[in-house]
């Protein structure tokens, strides 16, 4: 007769634990790290088709690479150009400063949650596959920093990063820069990260977005 009660107490206990841990994670996200200067941080960079990659490379150009290494570039499997552009950037870095200084770079492809124009219903199935693939990549990489700027491919990765935070597997800082093309409304990715408090910092480039989403960090146009 005791078993059902014990089982129930166990379930309630675990749920309470997880809830407390999630609250702790949400509270500690968005808080700067005030410890001594950390060593180089492994960084996951999510690339996307069209302007996304151009904007990300624009940001990477001014990021101190010795602090963010090794760098893992992830792009959708159907995106042929983005990884190529990232390779060009990395090659020029190695030419300038040598691989010791700027660290190694890795290039990976991920299954896409949703293609442009895909129906939302079939997107559920493809998103589940994408999540499984993202999980596998994240277990391999376990990045300390994640940089993304909009493509749907970043959502499964950020969701898993959040899960890793809750489970204490790895604390990843998530920095999301909403695309310069988003003037009045956040993209779906940006909206999800904003509403669920999943990004440590969410940057917007236009004042209209700052007014609509007060917790966002307004930084003006980056291009």
């Amino acid at each position: 007769m005791d078993f059902p009660i014990v089982f129930l107490l166990l379930v309630v206990g675990i749920i309470t634990l997880i809830t407390v841990r999630v609250i702790y994670v949400l509270y500690h996200s968005r808080k700067p790290l005030y410890t001594r200067s950390p060593g180089p941080l492994s960084t996951l960079i999510v690339l996307g088709s069209g302007g996304h990659t151009a904007e990300m490379l624009n940001l990477l150009a001014v990021l101190q690479k010795e602090r963010f290494k090794p760098r893992y570039y992830v792009a959708a499997a159907t995106d042929n150009m983005s990884l190529q552009k990232a390779r060009v950037l990395e090659d020029s870095l190695v030419d300038e400063a040598g691989v010791e200084e700027v660290g190694p770079a890795h290039f990976m492809q991920i299954y896409r949650s949703r293609e442009v124009g895909q129906s939302y219903i079939t997107s559920i199935g493809t998103t589940l596959i994408a999540i499984a693939h993202a999980l596998w990549l994240m277990v391999k990489i376990r990045p300390q920093v994640i940089l993304c700027n909009g493509p749907g491919t970043c959502i499964p990765l950020c969701a898993i990063a959040f899960l890793f935070k809750v489970l204490g597997i790895r604390w990843s800082f998530i920095f999301y820069v909403e695309s310069i093309a988003r003037v009045r409304k956040l993209s779906l990715s940006g909206l999800l990260l904003y509403k669920l408090h999943m990004a440590d910092q969410l940057f917007v480039q236009w004042p209209q977005l700052k007014m609509k989403y007060p917790r966002a960090n307004y930084v003006g146009c980056l291009m």
Binding site: P32, L33, Y34, T35, R36, S37, P38, L41, S49, G50, G51, A54, E55, N58, L59, A61, V62, L63, Q64, R67, M81, G117, V145, F173, F175, V177, S179, I180, A181, R182, V183, R184, K185, S187, D200, Q201, F203, Q205, W206, N217, V219, G220, C221, L222, M223
Partner: protein, 178 residues
């Protein structure tokens, strides 16, 4: 911005780009007699169309009396050289094309593709047009925009800077300021 030059020897190129998209309605609109004549009247001599994944094929034509020289291609690994040599750029509303052109300080007409389902691109084109950094048009209104435009009236776009964001991220993570 350069003045209209009617000398027979100088080439004034209009470069049309649709990026990696399919934007037949723009290519069609540019390939019409009225648009080509409007461009000629404004002093342009050559029209080069990067047509991307489109299925509508424009008509090539060597320089005839009273009209522009027309040529086209599908893709190029980098359109930077074409942008640099252009006197006017007509582009789809992709942010990459827009900012690459604005950074080169070229007069720009952005044409929004109304066939795209989720047209968030129009937000950017409209905002930049409001700030007078470019002209905004639809394929049907392209002729009007070209006829009425004054490229001199555009305000030069000052490029943005991502350095403050990079510094913020660094500081946030606990790195010392340089």
């Amino acid at each position: 911005m350069s003045e209209v030059d009617h000398s027979m020897n100088s080439k004034r190129l209009v470069f049309v780009t649709v990026g990696t998209t399919c934007f037949d309605s723009l290519v069609r609109a540019v390939d019409t007699q009225e648009v080509k004549e409007a461009l000629f009247r404004k002093g342009y001599t050559h029209l080069l169309i990067q047509m991307g994944r489109g299925s509508y094929i424009p008509t090539k034509s060597a320089r005839e009396e009273g009209s522009v020289d027309v040529d086209y291609f599908t893709f190029s690994s980098s359109i930077a050289e074409y942008l640099k040599s252009a006197s006017l750029v007509i582009s789809h509303a992709g942010s990459g094309s827009i900012f690459e052109t604005l950074q080169l300080k070229k007069p720009l007409i952005v044409v929004v593709n109304e066939d795209l389902m989720d047209n968030h691109q129009s937000e950017l084109a409209e905002e930049l047009a409001e700030r007078k950094h470019l002209f905004c048009a639809r394929p049907q209104t392209l002729y009007q925009t070209i006829s009425e435009m004054d490229p001199e009236s555009l305000t030069v776009y000052q490029p943005g800077d991502a350095t403050p964001v990079a510094k913020f991220i660094s500081r946030f993570l606990g790195f010392a300021d340089d």
